[in-house]
Amino acid sequence: MGWNRKVLRVDLTAGTCKEEPLNMQWAQDYLGSRGLATKYLVSEIDPKVDPLSADNKMIMATGPLTGTMASTGGRYTVVTKGPLTGAIACSNSGGFFGAEMKFAGWDMIIFEGKSPKPVYLFVENDKAELRDAGHLWGKSCWDTEETIKHELQDPLVRVSSIGVAGENQVLFACVVNDLHRAAGRSGVGAVMGSKNLKAVALRGTKGVSGIKDFRAFMKATTDAKKVLADNAVTGQGLPTYGTQVLMNVINEMGALPTRNHRDVQFEDAGKISAEAMAEKRPSDGKSQLVTNAACFGCTIACGRISEIDKGHFTVKNSPKYWGASGGLEYEAAWALGAANGVGDLEALQYANMICNEQGMDPISFGATVGAVMELYDMGVITKDILGIEAPFGSAEALAKMVEMTAMGEGFGKEIGQGSKRLCTKFGHPELSMSVKGQEFPAYDSRGIQGMGLTYATSNRGACHLRSYTVASEVLGIPVKTDPLTTEGKPELVKAFQDATAVFDSAGICVFTSFAWTLADVQPQLDAACEGEWTMDKLNEVGERIWNMERMFNNAAGFTAKDDNLPPRLTTEPAKVGPAKGLVNGLATMLPEYYRIRGWTPEGEPTTETTARLGL
């Protein structure tokens, strides 16, 4: 089966927890996790709902492979209507929380309404209850997790929580589990905060039962693990250097957005790269990187565990940050560093720790700081307004702003609204480097053309995890395409979008796709899940999920006009590097993309498309 066939519905207004059967027809049509939870959400909420109102719902969901022996099968997803974007929000996270939900016997937890006072949900196998969280309110994610484990006298409880940022409804607040793992984007943590839900603590001892064909599943997962181990990227590259190894690659290619996308190369990229993390510091003779780490059941282990320089100005008086902690991933290092022109690796690690501690998405936070620094540079935001000096490149300003934003102090409240609202307020909406209100990740679409279309059409706003064409355009996976041309990119983007929807909905990590194709996932799903899971069916499920998300966004008020990029990327050519003189060719790609999607020129799925996909 793969599924537990059980949904926990938590009515926060009434304070009740009820069990209901999983809709198995929907499981056949939408698989699990991202797809299935989105199906529940779009069936239950008004697309026009205010994301921070009691009428919005939030779903935490596992996939059929979550908690199983499939490699990376530890993922869970948080699905809701996102406050940063007003679009569908769907953020997934690794760690151990997802598998624990499965072991407790549940496929997903649906939260509805709003609790009159702070609470947390405690689930121990079949038992589920809301508990007072008055004493946890105001605590960081780290302290919340520790306090709950201590109170329950159980170190094996798995906790997902919001920090002060989520309580304050910072629009890019995230939900943090297992200390350093996060459902990071679109402000899912703000929705949790708006519901007065501080945390979810799970303990499951049932294991996973009901695999359809256990023998076939053993074989399929073993074969697939061998593919990961034998592949040079997933077997050696990712565990050794992590995602951060991309910093120098993308910089060389002239596609590293720098100083709020003014530039495409960062002169200090080397100082904030994976290579720099592994190098011994002159100050204490130690490297920042301590070791790699893995999420539940993962045989890749791309995670970074780092130790900051104790003498660095950010922490020299704060011993609590001296220990080993979640380290910099590429996206975070870029957003906190290159996006602001900050080349101080220790300052980036500090900002990264605060983001983990208080529950903020480092991508949107860092990119918003980039916008603030540009407005400061232009004299629009002054020291008087900000309270500090904030020129591009200032590590001091970055450190101060991360504290202000996390704790909701002073100008931090404005930063916590994200770059779109902030830039609009100061009269320069064009300087927000975002799509649908969500900030770009670490690839400049002038140097990697397919990413422009990826960003413009992503259902959750600018994002690299909806269609990572970088794999093809930069790394040659599965085939090398030219990053500087728009040709063939609409097909490439669609293929990546649909396949990624399946990876996400299965409950596995998308990083497996550096070695696996859907053909490696298919036998694992087919052995685990009841029904026939053929390649055709998986391709259709991916496309169905994509269109379902799109239809929700259209109903929420988005139109083709919102499939757009900031003017900087379509009118200001890259100044240096291979893309010198180029802007992103979105206008060439978009009509073709709509056509192959089976959408009208207005970006609406045609009736033939919806009928074909059973939507």
Partner: protein, 89 residues
């Protein structure tokens, strides 16, 4: 016979390939004076970088496919950068 003309280029090895650079490297970068006409493959060989480890090869940020490395002649001022199989996200 005239002496072989020389030109300056930069040679960069990243991630685990850094070990193939001589000890006097500056970070990941080495400035070299090479004969005119030197190809990408010449330098990969000269520094004993195993063929299958030279996975991602960029000259001035532009990808050079494996089949072209033996033909691609470097120009003065070129930046040649090489990575083993890697990925990110």
């Amino acid at each position: 016979m005239s002496a072989q003309l020389k030109m300056k280029i930069a040679f960069k090895l990243f991630a685990s390939l850094t070990d193939y650079l001589p000890a006097d490297r500056k970070g990941n970068r080495l400035e070299l004076e090479v004969d005119e006409g030197t190809t990408v493959a010449d330098l990969i060989r000269r520094y004993n970088v195993p063929e299958k480890s030279a996975h991602l090869v960029l000259v001035n940020g532009v990808f050079i496919p494996p089949s072209e490395r033996i033909r691609h002649r470097l120009q003065a001022g070129d930046e040649l950068a090489i990575w083993p199989p890697i990925a990110g996200g």
